[in-house]
């Protein structure tokens, strides 16, 4: 069984990578979870997981003359299989984003849940590919108008490719906000339920500085508890590994221009 979920936001600074890893760790209690840093232009999963010096990353797999295997870029940490992406600009420029399809297909064959940490902006083919490849999206929002506007936009992009919304996470929520009313109103426009509202937290910043996912660094924090509730509400859908892998491989994705 496998489901590929793109974790997307439409804008930066909402805590997308923190959320991807937190959801992943919470889901790992029940599932075999693989997290891929598919934000190849602004990779930062490595900094959240102590993998900044990883020898082989997704970047190596996206080169036309790649001699690394997918297995070489998978790191077992924090109960997750992690595929970080390097931050070399020249490697990013040389990368063929369409090779992500093959990488995802191979990873999908051997996991229960595949989380694709996706690009914040929607300005390129490589940024949109995770939305194309995923079964569903989790949209991470901050309770502000710019964030909701961008979240609605990302949802429409994903829907254009037949990728529906699995749920919405409101992150960095401050106490004084009328978040329950906002979440209820927002549910009218988003395809999935509000999975949780995550309080603004110093623990998330401290975890990032320590190079650890939030659920490893501050497992007893309110934010960590909220992410566990979110994972509990996310109903993972069964998929056949072979069919999912075939779908990725058969996706009609052209050569990059």
């Amino acid at each position: 069984m496998v489901e590929a979920l793109a974790v997307a936001s439409g804008k930066g600074g909402v805590g997308k990578t923190t959320s991807t890893l937190a959801l992943g760790m919470a889901l790992a209690d029940e599932y075999d979870v693989t997290v891929v840093d598919a934000d190849t232009g602004m990779a930062n999963l490595c900094f959240h997981t102590g993998l900044a010096d990883a020898n082989t990353t997704l970047q190596d797999l996206l080169l036309d003359d790649a001699d690394a295997t997918v297995e070489d870029a998978v790191y077992e940490r924090f109960g997750l299989s992690l595929v970080p992406c390097g931050t070399s600009l020249s490697a990013f420029r040389e990368a063929d984003p369409t090779l992500l399809r093959e990488v995802v297909a191979e990873l999908a064959a051997d996991t229960d849940v595949l989380l694709l940490d996706s690009a914040a902006a929607l300005g390129s083919q490589s940024a949109v590919l995770p939305l194309v490849l995923a079964d569903r999206t989790v949209v991470v929002l901050q309770p502000t108008i710019p964030s909701l506007s961008d979240g609605l936009k990302v949802q429409e992009y994903a829907r254009s490719y037949g990728t529906e919304t699995a749920g919405v996470l409101f992150n960095r929520v401050r106490d004084d906000e009328a978040i329950d009313r906002v979440a209820e109103q927002a549910e009218r426009y988003f395809g999935g339920p509000t999975l949780a509202t995550i309080p603004e937290s110093d623990a998330a910043r401290a975890a990032r500085r320590a190079g650890e996912p939030l659920l490893a660094h501050a497992p007893d924090s309110d934010a960590a508890a909220a992410y566990r509730r979110a994972a509990g509400r996310l109903e993972i859908q069964d998929g056949d590994e072979g069919a999912v892998a075939d779908r990725f491989r058969s996706a009609v994705i052209p050569e990059s221009p």
Binding site: V128, T144, L152, S160, E177, V182
Partner: protein
């Protein structure tokens, strides 16, 4: 002192101290110079829905807002912020006024906004919002009630327009990127 009426928000005419494109820079400038006065915000968009608005300040911190546009005609307070939170550049003129000259205006609760809300909603700058909240008087941070975001979410027409525009853009880009074969039904 002459008055400049912006809708029902009657402001004394101030001295122009800054005129630039961008809301974030204007809010930053108002905060750093402890501005008492107002900002006139004019969206540069050629679209018809870019109507101007006004945001007032006391000692650098935003207090009241008014916009000539809104879901129900003109708008005030958090509804005005929601109306002004449109994508694209704005020209912002900052006007200074003598201390105390906006006290009467600032006593009208229907116009008031939470101190950090303009930075969050108009400039998308959480750090500036936090610094603004830290500078705000304690009673100002407790301004409760509905938020600008709730006002935005009530505007079904506006949200439908955002969705429609995004769908059209996604389809156009899919063709440019050669992904049109992946588009759903």
């Amino acid at each position: 002192m002459s008055e400049t009426a912006v809708g029902e928000l009657d402001l004394p005419r101030g001295t122009l101290v800054r005129s630039r494109v961008g809301v974030a820079g204007a809010l930053e400038a108002a905060l750093s110079r402890d501005l008492t006065g107002y900002a006139r915000i004019e969206p540069d968009s050629l679209l018809a829905d870019g109507d101007p608005g006004v945001l007032t300040f006391a000692d650098g911190v935003p207090v009241a807002a008014y916009c000539e546009r809104g879901a129900k005609g003109d708008s005030r307070g958090v509804d005005a912020l929601a109306a002004l939170a449109v994508p694209g550049p704005c020209t912002v003129e900052l006007y200074e006024l003598p201390a105390g000259s906006l006290d009467r205006v600032h006593e009208q609760p229907s116009f008031t906004v939470p101190p950090g809300a303009p930075a969050e909603e108009l400039a998308d700058d959480a750090t500036l919002a936090e610094r603004t909240r830290e500078r705000a008087p304690e009673e100002a941070t407790d301004r409760g009630g509905a938020s600008a975001l709730e006002s935005f979410l009530e505007d079904e027409e506006r949200i439908a327009a955002i969705q429609e525009e995004a769908r059209a853009e996604a389809e156009k880009r899919a063709a440019e990127w050669g992904l049109d074969g992946e588009l759903g039904e």
